[in-house]
Amino acid sequence: MAKKIIGWFYSIIILIFFYAPVAVLMAMSFNKSRYGALPFEFSTEWYRVLFSNQKLIQAALDSLAIAAVTAVLCVVLGTAMMLGQREFNSRVKAFFNSLVVFPLVIPWIILGLSLLLLLRALGLDRNYAMLLIGHVVVSFPYAVMVIGARLEDMNSEIQEASYNLGANEWTTFKRITLPMLSPAMLAGGFLAFMISFDNFVLSYFLIPTGKTTLPIEIYSSIKFGFTPEINAISSIILAATLLMITVIAVLMRSSLMRMFK
């Protein structure tokens, strides 16, 4: 029990650390000063401004869509790759792993420009397909490495046993591997989502003319200063997500109740 109390105490401190800047961001969306100056003066002005800014809302929705597609693609590709690479020896695996870290080391600006030059070489215009590919490439390491950490040393005896009992590949995957991997797939997907959702450089170089995403709007604004409507839309997204998590938590209420017993 004492362990649990210490555990919760530590968790709460960490959560405070993680949420501190986000809380400030949310507070600033209700602050009257456009430059985030204190003392705090309550105002809903920036939400009013936001709701009349169709372009910004559209940009946020497009960013969500791009991030969600990226996350799904990364998880599917990453899971497949991790399952497949178990068939290779450690040298080949090391080669795969170094390919995966490429997008982590190379600055995104270089990757973005390279993809733009590739588009030129192919004689194509900037388009959403290439933008998605770019997002997948940079988000992929995060998804695949989380899945890989989970799969590492996962003993294949269970799978062998499953085969021996006559289960086919698909059944084994569905019954044994997938449940085992699903937490990592989810976490990897959320990380990939997060990388894509905040990616400026790749979107900037690859997005079709006249289109925009939330990070493009934010980064283009900093030359002269962005207004707190950026804080407002970020707050709405965060609040909506937290709300959904609360709903999930309530669905699991019983397990939360058990904790206090």
Partner: protein, 369 residues
């Protein structure tokens, strides 16, 4: 079982945001000119003019856009640039033949002209061109071989701004940036051009053609410990200033004016030693899809109506003489745009790649010390 519910819910979360997003994309697809990957889709009824500029920099003001759109039965789409050099990248990597109007500055204009990225302009087609100050027309970067490729739009300076609530003395010298009294409250700009040129002004060297880079480097190193921080973007400056982290520093005339309008206790001065002056130009891209419309747009940008409207909203100084003459002396003094100031400015001229590289490396060394 619990885990299963949770996993389903989390997957649901991702899918909901996915649906949400695609539905939104779908709805936007019904607007003309959106959707697909072509900038010219929907142009059957209305031509779409693609303009590249800084965000929130005059030409994308919704009212201004709407006025031009309805007068010319067209649609304006803005693309934003991240830096001048990056605009050059945009033009080199597929901008030619796709973009219509861009906003290059003297740092990249000669390169862009030489590489054939810009269209030659027939200034007789610009009805408002005769009203533009000769001083700006004569700056060498906008033309080559007697042909004009760019039209001056607005100008301003990079001088000293300070907090009048916290600093009571009248500041009029660039040496304030080297004043021990303000140690820990100064905000110098993180930009190699501004840094080198400002140090040159303080040392009495020609800012566009400094004679002693070593002295400049030492001067900048001497200045470094006095700063609170270096600021890079206007956004940083305004936040540091509003929170009183910075009380005095290098700043643009235009942003000082708009911050003052927003109620900040800020005063802008062009120091007696002089300051860096800059001009923004419009240019039409080579093989622009809508060349005639592009020229009309440039003409609109330097028209009395547009220039007057923007300067009254806190924009930078107009190049249109008629507009400038109509402004009150007090207003011009506040905004740092009087004739007297104009004559004290050193307008940034073109520097070739070697010079830029040397200046950039010098600045990196100062910062890394």
């Amino acid at each position: 079982m619990k885990r299963k519910i949770l996993n389903c819910a989390a997957v649901g979360l991702l899918l909901v945001s996915l649906l949400f997003g695609t539905a939104a994309c779908g709805s936007s697809g019904q607007q003309p000119s959106a959707g697909g990957n072509g900038s010219t889709q929907g142009s059957a009824d209305k031509p779409t003019l693609v303009v590249v500029n800084w965000k929130d920099y005059g030409s994308d003001n919704p009212e201004a856009v709407q006025k031009f759109e309805s007068e010319n039965n067209c649609k304006i789409v803005h693309e934003y640039m991240a830096s001048e050099e990056e605009l050059l990248t945009k033009l080199r990597t597929g901008g030619v033949g796709k973009l219509d109007v861009v906003l290059p500055n003297p740092q990249i204009l000669p390169t862009a002209i030489k590489e054939g990225l810009l269209e030659e302009l027939d200034t007789s087609k610009l009805s408002n061109y005769p009203n533009v100050y000769d001083k700006f027309k004569k700056l060498p970067e906008s033309s080559m071989g007697g042909k004009t490729y760019a039209v001056p739009w607005v100008w301003g300076s990079t001088g000293i701004a300070y907090n009048t609530k916290l600093i009571k003395e009248d500041i009029n010298s660039v040496n304030v940036l080297w004043d021990q009294k303000y140690k820990g409250f100064i905000g110098f700009r993180d930009d190699f051009n501004d840094a080198v040129m400002t140090a040159a002004i303080a040392l009495g060297q020609d800012p566009n053609n400094p004679s002693d880079l070593n002295a400049i480097k030492n001067k900048l190193k001497e200045q470094k410990p006095l700063n609170k921080t270096y600021w890079k973007t206007g956004d940083e400056w305004s936040k540091f200033f509003a929170n009183e982290q910075i009380t005095v520093g290098l700043m643009w005339s235009g942003q000082s004016a708009s911050m003052k309008k927003a109620g900040q206790p800020i005063k802008y001065v062009v120091p007696k030693e002089g300051a860096i002056g800059w001009v923004d130009y419009w240019a039409v891209v080579k093989n622009a899809p809508h060349k005639d419309l592009a020229v009309k747009f440039v003409d609109y940008m330097i028209s009395e109506g547009f220039q007057k409207d923007w300067v009254s909203k806190g924009g930078p100084a107009p190049v249109n003489k008629v507009v400038a003459d109509s402004l009150s002396e007090d207003f011009k003094k506040d905004a740092g745009i009087t004739e007297d100031i104009l004559n004290r400015l050193y307008f940034i001229s073109y520097h070739d790649e070697e010079v830029k590289k040397a200046w950039n490396e010098l600045w990196q060394e100062v910062k890394a010390e």
